[in-house]
């Protein structure tokens, strides 16, 4: 079985469409969405509808949660809060209805899916360094934990007795003695210096996991954002992937 996992679309329809074409060419059997369908980007309704159509399971991200009016945006940065204001005012009732069914966590085939962190999924913590990663291994029992939230992909693995190790590769084969914590990156707003969309492929027959990059038309998204009047900083960062 070949699984595709994608996250943090952030209402970037161009990026999502490019990824869907890639999902098809990779002949993925099942797709899972790890949260943050909306926020920052210009096409929340279209993205939520598409994601709901293609994914087996949708997870709740903090931006989706905020868009439903379930949390204050006071700890969002200025730009995130500004775009959230626009998102809340523009999304349809149908979109709200779909998002209200997003799940907090989900387990498939010895894999835990969560948007932010296995430690406290509902508190949207960020795993920003190896110390955070190491600590979070104690909060899941599955072989693999996949997450998004920080928009920076990585593969970390850990054995029972040793410290966690950050993989230098973007493709690894699952080994018996390790457990894995993998950030699958972001479709709609990568922040690791590579502006291309990122998602994860897992082949349960071979045990291979692979972070896949996909080129999309950044300029198209930027033009729609400018038309709406979304913050310039959010428009500019797409081109540099920061």
């Amino acid at each position: 079985m070949k699984y595709g996992f994608f996250s943090d679309v952030h209402a970037n329809l161009e990026a999502l469409k490019a990824c869907i074409i890639d999902f098809r060419s990779e002949k993925l059997d099942k797709l899972y969405f790890l949260g943050d369908a909306v926020g920052y980007g210009p096409n929340p309704d279209e993205c939520v509808k598409l994601i709901d159509e293609i994914a087996e399971v949708n997870l709740m991200g903090n931006h989706d949660y905020a868009a439903l009016g379930l949390m204050e945006t006071e700890y969002f940065n200025q730009y995130a809060a500004e775009s959230m204001g626009w998102t809340k005012s523009s999304i349809s009732e149908k979109t709200m209805e779909i998002m209200s069914d997003f799940e907090l966590t989900h387990v498939i085939d010895r894999i835990l899916l969560v948007h932010s962190s296995p430690r406290e999924p509902e508190n949207w913590h960020y795993i920003l360094d190896m110390e955070d990663a190491e600590e979070n291994f104690d909060f899941f029992k599955e072989k693999i934990c996949l997450l998004g939230h920080t928009h920076r992909p990585y593969i970390v693995y850990k054995s029972e007795s040793e410290e966690a190790i950050l993989s230098k590769e973007t493709e690894v084969t699952i080994e018996e003695e390790y457990r894995y914590l993998v950030n699958i990156g972001s479709v709609g707003q990568p922040r690791d210096g590579d502006p291309r969309s990122c998602y994860l492929i897992y082949d349960s027959d071979t045990g291979a996991i692979k972070l896949k990059r996909v080129q999309y038309d950044v300029k198209s998204t930027q033009m729609v954002m400018a038309k709406i009047g979304l913050p310039e900083y959010l428009i500019d960062r797409l081109a540099v992937g920061r």
Binding site: Y65, L68, G69, E97, S100, E103, L104, T105, E122
Partner: protein, 230 residues
């Protein structure tokens, strides 16, 4: 023009439409609204109409005046508020409805103090409950996993999801079916998930400002909203 509909055991006995600045309610014939019953004081209460609002004032009546099931001494009336005096219910409307027969009953009354006692006992229980919780409260009725839930935050989520603060049951219910949000005027309930799964007093709602004693139904779970007025 404001209107007060006088009901006796769910039967409309009078529709009182007025331009007066003050409407008195009591047992004796010199009142504007006469409630001919011994459970009602001679000068039981009055409604004062100001520029933009109406206020009901209880004249230290023996058996009390209730607005949406809470005993009050003075209370600003909102549209469709239910005022209970003795076994009468008076529904306040900011603007009179046009249709309807103003006289539907013959006005013969039977003294009945049981309802009065029940209301007083319930009001006392609610006061104790609110004092303990320090906030508005949801009481679990059918299909609820708690007896009471203190609404001590700005947003309370209701649904099937592990993210929901209040877990509701029912087929095809959304993960987060509804939210109760504190806004300036009070608590609102908003249906977020599938249509028609959130009902207040039996009616489907999208968005509704909660009043004391409202019955909230989300899927198969039922809660009673007790508003903190302290």
């Amino acid at each position: 023009m404001p209107e007060i509909i006088v009901k006796y055991e769910d039967k409309v006995i009078e529709k009182f439409i007025t331009e007066k600045k003050r409407v008195t309610i009591g047992r004796t014939p010199d009142n504007d609204i006469i409630l001919d019953n011994r459970g009602v004081s001679r000068r039981h209460a009055q409604v004062e109409f100001g520029e933009n609002q109406a206020v009901i004032i209880d004249n230290e009546s023996l058996n009390g005046t209730f607005v949406n099931s809470s005993r009050i001494s003075e209370e600003v009336l909102k549209d469709k508020d239910a005022i209970t005096i003795g076994k009468y219910t008076l529904i306040y409307h900011v603007n009179a409805e046009k249709s309807g027969n103003p006289f539907e009953a013959d006005g013969t009354m039977v003294l009945q103090t049981k309802k009065q006692r029940e209301l007083l006992a319930k009001d006392e229980r609610n006061r104790q409950l609110l004092a303990d919780a320090g906030s508005s409260v949801l009481l679990g009725e059918a299909g609820a996993e708690f007896d009471q839930f203190a609404i001590n935050r700005n947003v309370v989520t209701i649904g099937k999801s592990s993210l929901a603060n209040v877990k509701a049951k029912g087929f095809f219910l959304s993960g987060i079916q509804a939210k109760i949000v504190l806004e300036e005027e009070g608590f609102w309930i908003v249906n977020l998930g599938k249509k028609g799964k959130t009902k207040i007093n039996g009616e489907e709602i999208d968005r509704y400002m909660l009043r004391n004693d409202d019955i909230i139904q989300v899927g198969k779970s039922v809660y009673r909203f007790i508003e903190n007025r302290l």
